[in-house]
Symmetry: C2
Subunit: 466 residues, 2 copies
């Protein structure tokens, strides 16, 4: 039964595998102190292991039947003031894989067992130290590869998202309480809960859920990189610009793993935000003939884009051409709400900025010369402005987990059922049924209701030692 603590003491190497200066082995559970006390001898004499102060780093020898294995530093964390909420010891040893394995083996010999992936965090959840969405955020944080994905995970880990869910759930419980009260007195046909008040409350809850649901597309995008599609007629400098944008910043991200590169997409991080640039060189070269594209994948790429960089040759394009193209584009993709940035390229070929450009006020326009690497920072500034705007709009609570999104959708459905029920003047017990459904789905986000399958699914994705 994964949903209950099994009272076993678990241990694992918590740092990355391989040779290194140091490594950390963690052990957590009711026997943790006793198991470590068998092998650890502090340099400074403590008459017993219990005497070692908590949260204090203590130097000593880790021994195997009296034979020193390594000079280590240990830290005791006393229940409930530990990551897992149980007695926990961190053993910081020399980063020899052999020594790490030895220490682990000695702990196991004395009664610990190897932790399953995510089991430390699972115990933290089962002990009520964190809720389920916070636990999931720990894995997201470890997997984060840009400032933004890191910040979203960090906020979720610190409970900002859970807080909003809990408030919603509390409101639903209040609502439910009123309905249930009616059920107790159902024979008397009382209506404790004014149907109008209920509807008003429902509207408020639904609006909040809608905001969270909306944030998912943005959250997903921020987590995986904001898709930016570059379009424009042939020979306006699309590839030059892409190479410039990507190469310029590549050095910064070179030592961060996960920077994927393939033929048509290139992910890069600007000021901590991951962007996925989609080169349309292999696609149609301008969207004034988008009608004839016919390639579904191309069309989808543009539909999925959050930002469109429309590149044109400022020395050859007329005001009419631009406005007509933009109009057509907007017509075609009106439902998708892409943010369009006009990039007037080949600034080096003109003497002054054409006087029609002030008329493009409603569009963001930047003037660059890709060839001369001039003003490219204006594009990145625009990209960052967009991200800042989006993050602000989402009020910093952004849903990134498909599991959470699904739970919100189902909550929404249940709320709709209640709304329908009220309209159809259904009885309290039928409303209560849908309410319990809504509470269930909302509670599944924070883990107030959960089951083994969900927990196994979530924690199997963790790394060992966390």
């Amino acid at each position: 039964m994964i949903t209950h603590l099994n009272n076993e003491t678990i241990c694992a190497i918590a740092t990355a595998p391989g040779l290194a200066a140091i490594a950390v082995v963690r052990i957590s559970g009711p026997q943790a102190f006793q198991i470590v006390s068998n092998s650890f001898k502090a340099y400074r004499k403590y008459t017993s292991f219990e005497e070692i102060p908590v949260q204090k780093v203590v130097l000593g020898t880790f021994e195997n039947h009296g034979q020193p294995v390594d000079e280590v530093m240990i830290t005791k964390f006393q229940k409930p003031y530990s990551y897992t909420g149980e007695n926990l010891v961190e053993i910081s040893c020399h980063g020899s894989p052999f020594i790490q394995q030895q220490i682990l083996q000695i702990l196991i010999e004395h009664g610990a067992r190897v932790a399953r992936p995510g089991e430390f965090t699972l115990n933290a959840f089962l002990n009520g130290r964190i809720d389920l969405s916070q636990a999931e955020a720990v894995a997201d944080l470890i997997a984060s590869n840009s400032t933004l994905s890191q910040q979203i995970a960090y906020n979720q880990m610190r409970g900002h998202f859970s807080e909003r869910i809990k408030v919603l759930r509390q409101q639903l419980i209040t609502f439910s309480g009123l309905i249930e009260l009616e059920l107790d007195f159902s024979e008397e046909d009382l209506e404790f809960a004014s149907r109008n008040d209920l509807s008003t409350l429902l509207d408020a809850i639904d609006a909040e859920i809608a905001t969270l649901k909306q944030s998912f597309s943005m959250g997903n995008v921020l987590k995986n990189g904001i898709p930016v599609v570059i379009i424009g007629k042939p020979n306006v400098g699309k590839s030059t610009l892409l190479n410039l944008l990507v190469k310029e910043e590549r050095a910064i991200v070179s030592d961060i793993p996960g920077t994927t590169r393939d033929a048509i997409e290139d992910t890069m991080t600007i000021d901590g935000v991951a962007f996925r640039f989609i080169d349309t060189a292999g696609l149609r070269d301008s969207f004034d003939v988008i009608e004839s594209i016919g390639i579904q994948r191309t069309y989808q790429k543009i539909k999925q884009a959050a930002i469109v960089l429309y590149l044109f040759d400022v020395s050859e394009t007329t005001f009419e051409e631009i406005t007509e193209t933009i109009r057509e584009f907007k017509e075609k993709f009106q439902d998708d709400n892409q943010h369009i940035i006009l990039v007037a390229n080949k600034l080096d070929l003109i003497e002054e900025i054409p006087n029609y450009f002030p008329d493009l006020v409603e569009m963001e326009t930047v003037f660059v010369s890709a060839k001369r690497n001039q003003n490219i920072h204006l594009i990145t500034d625009s990209l960052m402005k967009f991200v800042a705007m989006q993050s602000q709009e989402e009020n910093q609570t952004i849903v990134t987990s498909a599991r959470h999104y699904e739970a919100l959708l189902r909550t929404s459905d249940a709320l709709q059922d209640i709304r329908n029920g009220i309209e159809q003047k259904l009885s309290g017990d039928l409303l209560a049924f849908h309410l319990r459904d809504a509470l269930f789905h909302l509670g599944s986000i924070t883990g107030e209701v959960t089951n083994n399958e969900v927990l196994e699914e979530i924690f199997s994705k963790f790394c060992i030692g966390k």
Copy 2:
């Protein structure tokens, strides 16, 4: 100038690279506290960073210009009570490579620089926290891959070897003092140091150095695996035995990197001791015809072996054959001092142990059946007995470093020069010259005398973060 502390503050990721539950970033130097205080906000309110107790694990937020980067635990170590002997902070963060890099980058922005390989340990040496041979032992410990190599490194790190070198050096200094005193009064032609006493002291020192020098071959062997050559006539079961020995124990070492396998050699660890088994299947099949081998490499393999397992078919071999073979072998390799273990195989084919075997008393003999996997543990017991014996003989100070060995050789040479000088009744100032030479080489082991080239050579082999 590497031989002096440069007063810079250094930082590095101290755990292995890659995604993991946690990672540790270290920063050391005069600015360490100030730099971390810019970014770390403890959850429990301390009015200043200085107020945070030393060696206490404190939870808080690591920030970048007010923006949280991660929830971290930090530990302050105050000069001189730290690994490096300087102010040092350990930052334990979530093991996202992105977050690790970010923390490092923030520390650098605030004035730290990335540490060179081994620079933390170099500083520990320059600050007199450890001597040079202890510093080298840290790298050996991290690279250790068997209990024995780990124990040798551990003992050396804890200063057992340095202690012996220091005692030797002190004796030489006493000796030197007497000679130098003579030089001051050289015009009076006094002889403060009795030449007989000098010779006696020299003998004692030389004997000690000889012991250490001898331990090098053993030390080297223990570090790299004890070479065990298996020889015997065709079809006595050599390959079956090798496979049995290796496969039986392989599971134990499967998760330890560095277990190399190739066609003719197979390294395995038994009870924490690495053995390199050398299969002579491709070599001559018995050593009664060793005369005709002619292959230098084969010959060398046997010469390099510490242990020879001589396998014979107990159901077919006569007492005379064995004694004759052993006699020939000993004659051939008389200078090499191999430990021979007779392995009487095919125990399953005989009814009782032949009555001539008690006559093999001076040889260690074990009776096994490789085919039936019977008594194989008797071989491993014998191997371990040999190792235990050797380790005891060496009195637990074992030279494993070629650098130390070379320094001991040169010290020996200088002592020989002094001895010759005394015999030739050379004047005190000439003896003093050789004495200074001996002191120099002995001092180079512990780093009491050193230079940039030596330090660079030593520390460049360390991993970053140590």
